[in-house]
Symmetry: C2
Subunit: 254 residues, 2 copies
């Protein structure tokens, strides 16, 4: 659309790719760092019902519940001009990949616990993690039913859209918080006696925590910045108009 | 303002007090639970340079960096119709109280570490916590200078307002994440051997973590829901108009 502020709007749009690129660098760095931590310092990966199987857990959770989840949220901003139906399918598919990766990660840790007779689900990390996964799966299912198949009425979609967006970012934040408690747990279970002497493994794992927070903040900024929201198109007009009607009155008062 | 949707808007406003009340119940419950954890299970509080001084740390951080911080964010929604200047002063004062409480909490833990020759700032919890406090203090200072005294130009304020809001909620989320890693650390330093047997202390501390997450989610929902933003008033018109000009063009495209 044309407005007196088109200039400032297009100049703000020029920043978008830099923020998206930064998010990808931070997210990939986090995946690499957790891989190095488990692969190099914790002995590598194997489906052996032992500690090497445990190591699959942090890797799969960071790939699924953080990196892929964050990227799934970002697709609406990265592909701002593409067909919305197509982006919805990419959004749902990336979330499904995130869920599959997380389930593999969960099986790995339950399998490890069970074979070593370690109780499951007693720690804050596990409580927070399991609640996050359940909410994530529910959010995926509701999103799929209401926005993709069979698809809700336009009233239902307009009502659910802001809730879906809010819970999307909130559950993503919970996933990152669960990761941070997981890093803390793993360090205190493995290098408790040397952690306070600033060993490379401790510094690497702390850096992983900060990378996850930076990635989450970058993703949250990109998806909440008003100027970067998708421009409307005729296809979405009916829903969009309805959505405007029920929200605009109050937004005017901002 | 009057609009065809005034009805639906005022019906959504009726939900606001319930969400605010829920946030207060969750926040107060978190403060009580951390008090019971430290007071009952960890021996109470004393400025003795020992473990009882450490216990002041979690209590002050939860009161300051979570409860007061959350409430400071909420004042703009709770007092929607009051004079904005007055609410700004309450917002800044509550944040200052949060900062003072956090500094007392920080002194307590540094004092405890130093008297027992425990190194400072080696863990992920401490890295995350100290970064959060530094960002919080910078955000407070910038907010004070730009919005209160001496006050920035309307252009500067309009540019900074969305950044201030974004970082406000993000740093709040970081404070909650830092608390969760702190709870995990404390449990593994004190009841590591019995934690997996579901002792009352472990369950209480896990519940504290969930209360903090629920409080944060409730506060974030209240402050990000569009219909609950403050209605404008003539006093704010100049800033508000300018702010509308630079954001509206894009919001229309939502």
């Amino acid at each position: 659309m044309s407005s007196p502020d088109e200039g400032s709007s297009s100049s703000s749009l020029k920043q978008l790719p830099w923020f998206v690129a930064s998010s990808q660098l931070l997210g990939l760095a986090a995946v690499i760092v957790v891989g190095v931590w488990m692969g190099h310092y914790r002995g590598g990966f194997s489906w052996d019902h032992g500690v090497l199987e445990f190591n699959i857990h942090p890797l799969c959770m960071v790939i699924g519940m953080v990196f892929l989840y964050g990227d799934a949220i970002l697709v609406y901003r990265v592909f701002r001009e593409e067909d919305k139906k197509c982006i919805k399918i990419i959004h749902a598919t990336l979330h499904m990949c995130a869920l599959i990766s997380s389930v593999i990660g969960l099986v790995a840790v339950f399998d490890f616990h069970n074979s070593l007779n370690i109780p499951n689900l007693y720690s804050l990390h596990s409580w927070l993690g399991i609640i996050t996964i359940i909410l994530f799966a529910m959010q995926w299912l509701l999103g799929f039913i209401i926005f993709l198949f069979p698809g809700g009425t336009s009233t239902l979609r307009a009502w659910y859209l802001p809730l879906h967006s809010f819970f999307g970012v909130t559950i993503f934040g919970m996933a990152v918080a669960a990761s941070l408690t997981g890093i803390t747990e793993k360090l205190l279970f493995t290098i408790k006696d040397t952690y306070s002497k600033f060993p490379p493994e401790g510094i690497l794992a702390n850096a992983l925590g900060l990378l996850l927070v930076a990635f989450a903040a970058c993703v949250a900024y990109v998806v909440t910045r008003h100027e970067w929201k998708r421009p409307g198109n005729p296809e979405e007009e009916a829903l969009s108009l309805h959505f405007h009607r029920i929200t605009r009155g109050d937004e005017e008062e901002d």
